[in-house]
Every structure is written in structure tokens, then in C-alpha cells.
């Protein structure tokens, strides 16, 4: 069963004199455990698509079904609650809370979910271990490298045990070494724990790691491929 199902999704921005059709009838479906990169030139609608899937904005038309629930029908309050419990976000600029330590940044979202203290402590310990940040537990973000900060952001996104994680250009501000480390971590989580990842990216290294590539152009899906299967097919 699809985790995310998008049907004839449309988004038109009318703030300017000339309306901008950011998405023009997108139909997509994502299964649990997918590791998908949404690619395409600037302005093709990648970020808009992620915003619609993440319930950060309302589409002009169409549906976004998350496990059979049409989130386009939810009001803003319901969407906030839905995002808190079902979606993880990773941002290009990490967007950590600078006045909180690494541990507190990860804990914060679980406190919003009213998890028990024991559950929070166990989960933080596990995520810090997985992300290789156990020695940075009480450090504030400004004392971390970009790669380390983005790993904290991934841990924060995972902390709420979301159904899937949306990552908007997560490697755009990282050097190649940090990018490789981060991608390896996310690929591991994807394979071992079946965490579903959806990236928007320009980064070839992310595309190389992705097991599905969705290419957008002018708000439409122009290709939807699974390089891994193609690779396997060539071997056969």
C-alpha cells in the first residue's frame, strides 16, 4: 500500500500579476521504504511538491493522500498536528534551535508530542548513537560543523517516528565528505529501518544514491525511473 499518493496535483501562485503554475497535474505514488530523489531545474516545482506533500501549503487542485487520509481537506490546525505526528522535515539550512543543545534539539519535537521522559531519553540516546553524535550531546549547534548540524537535523526528523521524511536540498550547504557521510547514514536508515525518504535535490551524489528518480519540468513529471532496477536489469 502506498504511503503517499498524489492525484492530479495542481498549484498556481497568483500573488504576481502573471499567475505561476508551479504544479500542473502531478500524479505520483510512494511506497513505504522508498529512497526517492525529486530532481529537475530550478523553478520546476520540486519544493512546491514537497510543501504540498508536507502539508505546509494547500494545492489549487488535486489530492495528497497520506495513508488514505486526504491532507488537502484538513484545516490548518489539523495539518499542524498531522505534521507533528506523521512527517519529518530536513531543511537546507539545518534550522536547528541555536539556544538548545544537540540533545535538547532532538528532544524538543518529542516533548511537543507529549512522549514520556523515559521514551524521550531512550530515543535520543539511540539517535545520537546512530548519527555518531554521542560525544556532542551537550554542545550547541554553533559549535558543530555543517555536516554535524545536518545530522542533528536528521535525528530530529527521525525522533518523532514519522511515516516519511521530506528533505529539501539537504546537502546543498555541505562539502562532499559531509554529504557522503550524511547520505550513507540516511541510506542505512532507509535499508535497515525502512524509513521512507523523499528528497528534492540538484546534487548528483544524492541522485546517485537514490533508488528512484522523479524528474519534474514546468510542474509536470517528465520521468519516473528506478536506477537500481535498471542497473540490476542490465546485469541480468
Amino acid at each position: 500500500m502506498a504511503v503517499i499518493e498524489i492525484k492530479n496535483l495542481e498549484k498556481t501562485y497568483t500573488e504576481n500579476v502573471v499567475p505561476v503554475h508551479a504544479l500542473n497535474g502531478v500524479d505520483l505514488s510512494f511506497e513505504k521504504g522508498e529512497f526517492t530523489a525529486i530532481v529537475g531545474p530550478s523553478g520546476c516545482g520540486k519544493t512546491t511538491l514537497l510543501n504540498m506533500i508536507g502539508g505546509l501549503d494547500y494545492p489549487t487542485g488535486g489530492q495528497v493522500m497520506i495513508e488514505q487520509q486526504d491532507i488537502t481537506k484538513m484545516n490548518s490546525g489539523e495539518l499542524v498536528d498531522f505534521r507533528l505526528h506523521h512527517i519529518g522535515f530536513i531543511f537546507q539550512s539545518y534550522n536547528l534551535i541555536p539556544v538548545l543543545t544537540v540533545k535538547e534539539n532532538i528532544e524538543f519535537i518529542m516533548e511537543l508530542q507529549h512522549r514520556s521522559r523515559k521514551e524521550i531519553n531512550d530515543r535520543v540516546r539511540y539517535l545520537l548513537d546512530v548519527m555518531g553524535l554521542s560525544d556532542k550531546i551537550n554542545v550547541r549547534p554553533k559549535y558543530l560543523s555543517g555536516g554535524q548540524q545536518q545530522r542533528v537535523a536528521v535525528a530530529r526528523a527521525l525522533a518523532s517516528k514519522p511515516k516519511f521524511i521530506l528533505a529539501d536540498e539537504p546537502t546543498a550547504n555541505l562539502d562532499s565528505k559531509s554529504t557522503d557521510t550524511l547520505l550513507d547514514l540516511m541510506a542505512n536508515l532507509n535499508q535497515k529501518e525502512q524509513v521512507t525518504f523523499l528528497f528534492s535535490t540538484h546534487d548528483q551524489r544524492v541522485m546517485d544514491k537514490a533508488r528512484r528518480l522523479v524528474t519534474l519540468e514546468d510542474g509536470k513529471v517528465i520521468s519516473d525511473t528506478k536506477p537500481e532496477m535498471k542497473y540490476e536489469g542490465q546485469h541480468k
Partner: protein, 405 residues
Amino acid sequence: MLIQIAWRNVWRNKTRSLVIIVAVILGLWGGIFSDAFMQGMAKQQIYSGIHTETGHIQLNDPGFLLNHDMQMHIDHADSITSSIKKMPEVKAVSSVIQLTAMASTATSSAGIMVNAIDTVDQAQVSDVSKLLIEGDYFKDDHNNLAVIGQQLADKLKLKLHSRIVLTLQTMTGDIIYGAFKVEGIYRTHNSDFDQQMLYIRKNDLLSLTGFPVGSASIITVLLNKDSDTKNVADVLTKQFSTLEVQRWEQLSPMQQVLSSTMTQMTIIFVGIILIALAFGIINTMLMAVMDRTREIGMLLSIGMQPSKVFGMIVMETVFLSLTGAIMGVLISISTIYWFGKTGINLSMIAEGANAMGYSSIVYPTLSADFYLELAMMVIVIAVIAGLFPARKAIRLKPADAVRGD
């Protein structure tokens, strides 16, 4: 954790926060201290009025105060005085014969008020005996001694031991003259009082005017505690229903009006300062919100309820304001305590201050109630100041805000 984040956010941009905190400290200190100064002046004026002029309560024949007619006197004043003295709330009682007169010297004359007193009783009721700048307070046993104010002495060019002639009316309406020797010169905080009030012994007046023995124009009552004034006045009103019983507020309504006006002005003054500070606080918090657009966008994106974001910003504003307010109040309390002990010497403008009945040394004071009211005002103003930036924060579109748009 929200409280923790809000508190830490206050110190995120230390310079910006410190600027507004220092502004709050200075604003509040300026407001509180000047209010304490005004309150000190008003309190001293009331204290001085009670302890030199009116006492806490006065009893007199109804209508006496309108024209000071000596026929309107209190019969059996001595027995009434003795009866009042027995009340536990009463510190001292004195009966006075008060009448208008003309004081003359060889060179000039002036209209005055003669107060014929029992010197021992009056010294317990009024501080005039302690405010002598020259001479003595009826120390000499000789007849026809007078204690006068410095202003009257200056006006009539009188010195210690000078002769002064008083023109008085007798009980039968005749005019008589009496020569008195200046034994002492006093100076209170009220130059009008010093120019008007002349004190002589009661016996000296009785022999001149034929005023009935044992009677008086006014009975002045001094209490142990200011707060007992109304209760004791009520008791006396019931007990001596033929007499007019008036409290100091009724005898000197201006003092009471001034005191309550100053309290109101204090609140208004500090309120204006706080409103002005609120604009500074709003500006600081708006800058803080704009600086943190991405972070607020992230919080809204990951599922933090807008009401919590709103509360966090308001909390930050309250913390910022309270930090400055607490420090401002502590500094104010210290300086008010210090100057409350040492006093602020206004001798440079003492003449003008004395003309209005104020002391030349002011002891600033503020009641504990005021600090409670101030704390409430600071919190209310801070919450109001936080509303606009908080509203701005929750109106951000998370999708745009996370990218800093």
C-alpha cells in the same frame, strides 16, 4: 522547555537585550525615584501640618472656624480635654484660645492669629516648641511673653526680647492693648504659618480679654497612630455632639487632595514611562522575530502549534521586561532607602518650598503597595508589547519562512 527556550532567547543577542534592559532600568528608576521624591514631599507636608498646625483632630464650636468669633467658644474645655486624654489612642491634647489680632511695633504692623496656650500641653501636641531658631519656649516665668514665627519677626523687624503690642478685642467687644516681649522665634516648613501664628500663655490672655476660665476656642488632639484618626473622630463626634469634630484632612483639605493627587500622578507618570518603554520593547521583539524567521518557520513546519509559538514570543517579552523591571526596582529601592535615611537637601530652593509648606530636606518614600501595582503594570505592559511581535511570528507562512523569505 518553552520557558527554557524563551529565557535563553532573551540572551541570544546580548547587546540588543541589554540596551532595552538598561532602558527599562533607567526609565523605571527615574519614574519610581521621582515619584518617591514627590510622595516624600507630600508625606512630610502632611506630617508637618499635623505636628505643627492641626493635630490629627480638632474640636471647636460649630461656626468658629468661619469667622473666629471669640463668643463661639467651648465651655468646660478643661473637662473635655481631660476626658479625651483618657482615650488609649490619644497621645496628647491641648486646648487653645484662638483669636485674630493686630501686632504692632514702632515701625510696622500686621494682622495675626493669637494662640493662647497651656504651654506644657501645647508642647506635646505641636512641634513649634522644638523648632525655635532663637530664644526659649516660655521658659521665663514672667508674664506677657510671646513666641513668634521668623516670617513675622522679619516683617515687623522684631528681634529676640523686642516689644510687640497686640491689639485685641475683649469678650464685651472693647478694644484693648497688650505689650508682650518676644521670648522665642520659631521656623516651621510653612512660611505662611510662621507669619500668622503667635503664641502667648493662656493666663495672659484671660486677664486681658475676660475670656471665661476653663473655656477654649479649639481643642487639638494628637494621636499615637495616623490610622486611628477616623475611628477616634467618630467616637468624639458621638461623645461631644454639640461640637464640631474635624479630622486633619477636613481642616487642611489641600493636603489630602495633594497627597491623593500625587498618588494618582505617580501611577500615571510611571504608566507613561512604561508605555514609552513598551514601544522600545516591541521594536526589539520585532527585530528578534525577523532575525529568527527560519527558526520560527521550522517550528511551525515540524508541528509546533501557533499558540505555543505565540506564547513563547510573549514569554520572551515578559522575561526581557521583567529582567529590566526587577533590576530597576531593586536600584530604586536602594536609592530610595539611602535617601530616605539621609534626605535630599533642597536648601537652594528652600524658600520657595517652605512657602508651599514643604520641608527643605525631603525624605523620599514609597509604599509597598506601589511596588505591587508596578509589578502588575510591568507584566501587563510586557504582555501587550509582546502581542504584536507574537502575532507577526504566527502569521509567517512556514513554507516561506523556513527558507528565510
